[in-house]
Amino acid sequence: MKLWEDMAVGERAEIGRYTFTTDNIKGFARRFDPQPFHLDEAAAARSHFGALCASGWHTASVWMRLMVEHQNREDEARRARGEPIAALGPSPGFRELKWLKPVYVGDTVIYSTEVIEKRASNSRPDWGLMSIRNSGVNQKGEPVISFVSVAFVERRKRAA
């Protein structure tokens, strides 16, 4: 992670892509979201979705995985360049999550993130907060997911 001071509002990055399959859709749904349209082709065909589709929590959880991998790659590059690496802290939550279109078997979702706001933390002077808009589009370019999350990011160490 970049230090909080070095992040700029408007910075955008593609963080990765993921292909949803019958197996990973059903595997996730069996554990966390066992509704017929995520588990059973025939029931899904009768539903308003029209075909088997991924749980929205699956689409969101994959974003988190790709975000962590993206940050790990970026940190490797920073380490190689001798640049400082900030810790990414926990998140107090997210808002405005929209599942804009169903994600069907065979869809590949391309995920991106953009910094939309920065503010200092009143309670934790060593940390700042960033708001990021995260989004995913399918292989046809149609938006399928969007949300705004907030997380703590470490600040540059200041002289005591």
Partner: protein
């Protein structure tokens, strides 16, 4: 038990479920698959983080909440999914082997303008830990099928 339809979700109605234990190995397995950060994976390394110890991924909490909703009432309803989530707050760390209880409160309902066979139900979902501390809240509208409408009278 007959299936719950949109009409059954009246403002103020409460559904409760749990407690459901979160086994340490399942919590860590989720993190390894979807949120491989040290604060969710490794006890020792997690002590040095802001959370001060191993804690569940917030996304795991969302997924467990979803599963508890399905087990509580969504699985026995005319659920048509959800268009999104207004807001999630992760209020306190969720610890390994903790037990969570769900409370779902109907805030308001509205019929769909474009789909007469469907309506929206806005909920506040709350998760409590074994010490009855509120650890997470989630506000969302679910889409539910409506009871068969009486056939409209033929125009005279």
């Amino acid at each position: 038990m007959s299936q719950l339809q949109w009409e059954d979700f009246t403002p103020g109605r409460v559904f409760e479920h749990g407690p459901r234990r979160l086994p340490r190995d399942e919590m860590i397995a989720f993190a390894a698959e979807f949120d491989p950060q040290l604060m969710h994976l490794d006890e020792e390394a997690a002590r040095a983080t802001m959370l001060g110890g191993l804690a569940a991924s917030g996304w795991y909490a969302c997924c467990i909440l979803m599963r508890m909703c399905v087990d509580a009432f969504v699985g026995n309803s005319s659920s048509m999914g959800a268009p999104g989530v207004d807001e999630v707050r992760w209020l306190l760390p969720i610890l390994p082997d903790d037990a969570l209880s769900l409370r779902a409160t109907v805030l308001e309902t509205r019929a769909s303008k474009s789909r007469p066979d469907m309506g929206f139900v806005r909920f506040e979902f709350e998760l409590f830990n074994a010490r009855d501390q509120r650890v997470m809240t989630l506000i969302t509208s679910l889409m539910l099928g409506r009871r068969e409408q009486a056939a409209p009278k033929a125009a005279l």
